[in-house]
Every structure is written in C-alpha cells, then in structure tokens.
Symmetry: C2
Subunit: 437 residues, 2 copies
C-alpha cells in the first residue's frame, strides 16, 4: 500500500489546514448578514455609490462588442492596457516612473489576497518568521499560516508601527537564530486599526529593514481613501528596491471583479508570473477589461471623491456615536481614512465572549483576536463604517454600548471587574489601548 | 542580520520557482499569436460561436440591475445559486444526487487551474509522488512542480491509461518506499492526446486505486464536448468516495470569466474552502452571476451542440489534412471529442528542435516535451483544432508537413536518419506512437 484512505489523509494533513485559520470573520458573516442585525463586522465598500447604470452599460459592451477578446484566455501577467492604467493610478500616490514603476513590473492578481499569497508562496518556507503589525489584516494571517510561517507582531501606537519595537523584534529573532523573511505592513489607514504610519517613521522603518536585509511587503488597499488631505507617500514611492507594493480595486471600484496587483522588484517579476500561472493560469480577461475601461472612460477620480465623502460622513457618525454612547473606559482610534475603527474595551471585558450577547442584541463586530496570530486581542474589536448608513451605525453603537454596559454591570455584581478604571476615549485625542501596543 | 538581500532571496529560492516550469507554451504564445502564423499551438475555445449580443446584454444587466450584489464581496465557497447550477450540469454526465453530488460539496474556483492547485495545496508535501498520464496537461505539471512533488507518468494507449502499467508503477513506488498521494487523470478527451479511457478500464483503474488507498483527482474539462455520442460516465459517477472531480466553464462557455469547480469528498470540502479563502478570499461574484445566469436563462445545451459541431468539423479538417499531407512514418490519435490531436513524428525528428523552422514557415504547435515532467516527448507534438477555421487548419498542416519533409530530407543527406520506417498514420485506425506509451 503506497497510499492511505481519505480519513488518514484528512488526519495526517490536518495540521496544514488547521494553519489556514477557520476565520472567525467567516463564521460571523452568516449571522451578521441577517437584516435585523446592524453589522459593523464587515469590510465591504458601499457599491451603491457607484453609477451602476453606466457601469452596467460598459460591462454589456465588453461582452457584445469585445467578447471575442474579453471572454477568451489571456496572459498570466495581465493585459498591458490594465497594467498601464495601474501605473497611472499608482502615480497619484507618487509611485511613478521616476521611482522605477513600470507596467513591465506589474502583475495583475485576483484581488489583493492573491497578491499576498503569491509573495508568500515565493518566499516562505515552513518555520520562517514574518513580521507584521499587531493587530494586522486577518487574511494575511491566513496566508502566512497556510505557508506554515510564524507571525511575530510588532506593536503600534497612534503613529503606526513603532520603529524601536521593530528593531527590538529583529534583534530578538536574530539572537534566537530565526529566519525572518519580510515585514508585512499596511502603513496607510490600516486594517483593522485605521492608524497611519507617520511621515517620519516611514523613513525609519525603511532604514531599519534595509539595514537588516529585510524585504518589505507594503499592502495599500486604502491609501486613496483619505478624508483629510493626502496620506504620507507609500513606502514604495521612497525606495526602488526591496519593497513589494500590493493593492486592489476592491475598495476604489468593486470587489466583485477580484482585480488587484503587485508592483514587484524587477528581479522577481517573472517568478511571480510563473507562480500565478500555476495557481490560476491567467486573471479574468473580462474583469481586467472592466477595470481598464472603467479607468479609461469613466470619471473614476470623481468616484474616489464620492467614496471618500460617503466614508468620511460614516466615520464621523461612528465616532460621534461612540463619544456619546460608549461606556467609561472605552477608547478608540480616529482614522483619517479607510474603513475601520479599532476600539479598546473597558478592562475586564472580553470581545469574543461578549459576541453571542451582541448578536442577540442585533449588532455585530469582529473580536480583536481575529487580527492576532497569538490569541491576544480579547480586549478589543474592529468596527466597520463603510457599509451601513449613518443612522444604522448610530443604532449599532447604541446596541453595542448597551451590551457592554450590561457586561460591566454583571461583572460588578459578580465581582469580576475590580476597578473599571475610567479613561474615556475621545475621538481625536486618545491613543490606542493596550491591545494595539 | 536576520534577513538577506533580494538577490540572495532570488538565488536561495530559485529552486521553488524553477519547479514552476517556465512553460514552453507561454513562450510560444507570443510568436504564435502573430496573424501570419497558423497556430495549432493554443487551447482556446472558439468564442465567436457564442451569441455575443445576447451574452453582452445579460452581462450589462448583471451590472446595472444587480451590481449591488454581483460587484460586492461574496463567500469563499461560491454562491449557492451557481453551485446548484453546477450540479445540474454534472447530472448530465451522470454525477447526480444518487451518487452523492450536492451543492454543499461544490467549491467554486478560478477556473480549473485553481481547482487543481487547491487539491495540490491540501495534499502535497515536497518529495511526494503524483501519478499522472504520460503525457498530461502542462498546467498540472506546473502545479505539481510548484508543490515540489515528483510526477511519475503512467503509459497510455488508444484506450487511455494502461491499468497494468498503473499497478506496476504503484508497486515499484511502494518498493522504493515513496509516498504516492494521488492519481491525476483526465479520462475523457484527454489533453494533450484526445484519448478517452475506455468503459472497462474506468472500473479497473478505480479498483486499483481503491486497493492501493490512492485518491483519484479526475479532471474533466472536455467531457461535454464529444463528437460521437456520449463518453463513458466520469469516474466520480462510479464512486462516491476517494474521487475529487474538477471541471470548468472555460471550454463550454468562456475562459475569460475564470470559473471552474471542485466536487470534493465531503470530509475535505471545508478545508478546500479555507485554502481557497487564503488564496483568493472569494471567487468573483460577477463572474459567478454571469455563469449562473447564462445557465439559468440562456440555451446553453443548444450552445454545447454548436461547440461540438464546430469542433467536430475542425477535427475532421485536421485529420483529413494529416492523412493527405503528413509524411510517411507520422501517426496520430483520433479524438472522439475535446480540442486536441497528438501526433507522433517519423523516427529521428525532434519536435522541439524543429520548432524555430516551423515558426519560420508560419505554423506553430506545442512540442511533446511540454507534457512530460521527465524531458521525454521530443518525438511528438500537440495540435489544436478548436480555434482556427478548417481552411486555416489545412494550410497549417500543409506548412507543417513541408517543414517535416525538409527535416527528413536533411537528415537523409546528413545520414542522421537511419531508416524512416514507414508506418503511415491513418485516422481512425492507428494507435498512439511510442511517446504515448
């Protein structure tokens, strides 16, 4: 017998799959999508803000007039037309020809997720270490765990990743003889915290990584969704070498098309293409044509403004409601862009344990534990403001605050909470709580 | 220093990428797509046979009327609506509820390629062995090599995989202490040979794998493209357990949408979904809606007949031209469906070495070596008949035959070819040559 039964397989290779964290977010979606629940748990853009009639007309023509091309196989790297458009988009953030960005080095992917998975596939071996913000994007944890790599979180504060903590982590891992492959970072309007790495820290983080010979994987899905002027330039705009720049049209156009990209160091561009071909053969020609035609013929810069305006209003609705309604001892971040606020709960509250009671009260969020590889995060939660309208957001916060007040009261009765030490979060002034640091 | 420079990375991890075979097919596409070249090298369906006006209209409505859903994020497994439609499609081939097929166990993928990659990702460890037909699908070789698994080819004849050879390979590998994970097979209208595994052998192959405790990965992109009545029922229609069934809409509808699927054993369905989420988060909601609406509202069974009729005519054009024009000593398969013919060249000819001269004569094919993991296949080539119209196919064969005649003459002059022993291939009667066996 050279093989085994399916049960044996399932058993024997379970570790590989256990690694692929059965995302808490996934389980939540089923519950949170019931109409009576106010979901602050998602990460969905507000697609209804798109000019859907015009988009539909464009999509129709891509089939009827160009179907012979758009519905056919394409090349693994993606169409030149889209890669040129992507370079135009990146140039808005300062990633332009002057810093070596070229359609030649762009690889079109199935959303930002495949971009990240390809980089992991190319570089990670079992047992490797990846450095990442703590907390970080849950889908990145899934990728790294599937690759059997270990994530070591680097603390953040209100200015993003703490450079001294990054240096310390690198030194500790070097002493322990661990092999660190790269720093994974979402420097702008981070998921899940909404925090942005400051101008000054960007240079320091790049210098630290350069000195340590560490690659940087910069994930930038939200950079063009700023509410208060321009974000600091991306890391890739500051360094030609050693930075992989990943982004997506999921937040600026539509996630249902699944189009993202990598701007790769030239030396590995071909290898990424080959890895992508092994995974998906080629990205959808139709979806690529949809994005490049959208960028080429429709007022997409104007649409970005629309998205920004909608999300700014909803962020304000969330922050105002939190200021008005959240119990003493709660603090939260004040994002200048993106889709998320990170809230730190009064001492003693457990966001994961509280979740069933929150859902019973018809409100959903993502417990902080989902964004850490090491089980921390019980004292925090991620709140999304891009999808529900402002009045629903306020209602959601009202329900959530009620659940939290009940928890606090219960803990007082049963003596579980010693002192709910009361620093009350204030939008615009507070620093992220202990789960961020 | 815990890390390394990019060059070190590139060097150190080159093996991982070398594994991802820099497909000969990919390099060929650039040349073969010049308009003056008759390309028999592709594998593209004839999209122009679709009712593109009606398809375009449908695609437009999916954006304008349903954009809020279709352009949004979806779930990793794929929409229930599409999974139900997929079960209807499979039931045409006998894979129905009676043999345990259910929308619950379908996972929607980015074409057949991601389906295969997910199975590999779940089961393959470096050093594992995968059994596969010799020759087999080039994209499967890419997947297995990326997983650092070794492909052991099992010989075929005109009735497909040879059961005795399969048994012998399993026994040899067991003696050598190698770990075999599964048999990968394309039993119907195989790529690249066009050969179909006979009714009687299907049961034997399944029995052999069952006895050896080997999983079967059945890849069936072409099963509904038969020209001469029904193909034997798929392996999955015969066994509930131990068979992964993979297919795609790339050949029956349109590859540019990138929609395929896996019907998985129930025990691993969840694991495949989690693996897919780590890779792509979710399949395109828009592409899924396009396929399910196409299946739900348009005459897709009629369209299958159209494709079959177009391809049958083109297969006949290819076989007739080969019979009329190919030099003595050439033999080829006679596919009853699918997209490909496999030709075995007169002794001494090398399809890879001949390629530049063929392209100079404005005809392209894929050398046989692309379909083997072990470098064999120089004496064979794959010819595609689905894309070029009949008169172009004949012209392509005329050019190809001319190049072959020149090769033969040159080898006679220089004494390289001892005896071009002349079994001349005859459509309908010949058996595949040595490169198939």
């Amino acid at each position: 017998m050279t093989g085994t039964t399916l049960d044996d397989y399932t058993d024997r290779y379970a570790r590989r799959v256990r690694g692929m964290t059965a995302s808490e977010i996934r389980a939540l979606f089923a519950v949170a999508s019931r109409p009576e629940v106010v979901s602050l748990a998602g990460g969905a853009p507000y697609i209804a803000a798109l000019p859907l009639d015009a988009v539909g007309e464009m999509l129709g023509r891509l089939g009827s007039e160009h179907g012979v091309t758009t519905l056919q196989y394409g090349i693994g790297q993606g169409t030149l037309e889209l890669r040129e458009r992507i370079c135009e988009v990146m140039s808005l953030s300062g990633i332009d020809a002057a810093c070596g960005a070229s359609p030649e080095d762009v690889v079109v992917t199935v959303g930002g997720q495949q971009a990240l998975d390809l980089v992991a596939r190319l570089f990670l071996d079992p047992g490797d270490v990846v450095l990442a913000e703590g907390p970080t994007y849950v889908g990145a944890l899934g990728v790294f765990q599937a690759a059997q790599a270990q994530v070591v979180h680097v603390p953040m504060d209100e200015d993003g990743l703490v450079p001294e903590a990054l240096e310390a982590a690198i030194a500790d891992l070097a002493r322990a003889g661990r092999r660190v492959k790269f720093l994974y970072t979402i420097p702008t309007y981070q998921n899940p915290t909404g925090v942005t790495l400051s101008e000054e820290r960007r240079e320091r983080v790049l210098d630290i990584c350069e000195r340590a010979g560490l690659l940087v994987v910069e994930d930038d899905p939200y950079g063009q969704l700023g509410f208060e002027g321009e974000a600091p330039a991306p890391l890739r705009a500051r360094r030609r070498d050693g930075v992989f720049y990943l982004s997506t049209f999921s937040k600026t156009f539509a996630p249902g098309l699944r189009v993202g990209w990598i701007l790769a160091p030239h030396a590995v561009r071909d290898k990424l293409v080959i890895a992508s071909e092994a995974q998906i053969l080629c990205p959808s020609g139709y979806a690529q044509a949809a994005v490049s035609t959208y960028l080429g013929t429709m007022p997409w810069r104007q649409q970005l403004k629309v998205y920004r305006e909608v999300y700014r209003e909803r962020r304000d609705a969330l922050l105002d409601a939190m200021t008005d309604l959240m119990p003493e001892g709660t603090s939260w971040t004040t994002p200048a862009g993106g889709l998320f606020v990170w809230a730190t709960l009064p001492e003693g509250l457990d966001s994961k344990a509280m979740m069933p009671r929150a859902v019973a009260a018809r409100v959903a969020y993502v417990p902080g534990t989902g964004f850490y590889a090491d089980g921390t995060g019980t004292g925090a939660m991620r709140l999304n403001f891009s999808f529900p309208p402002p009045e629903r957001i306020r209602e959601g916060v009202r329900r959530l605050a009620g659940v939290m007040e009940q928890e606090i009261a219960m803990r007082r009765v049963f003596g579980a909470v010693g002192g709910v030490a009361g620093r009350r979060g204030r939008a615009g002034s507070d620093v992220p709580g202990p789960d961020l640091a």
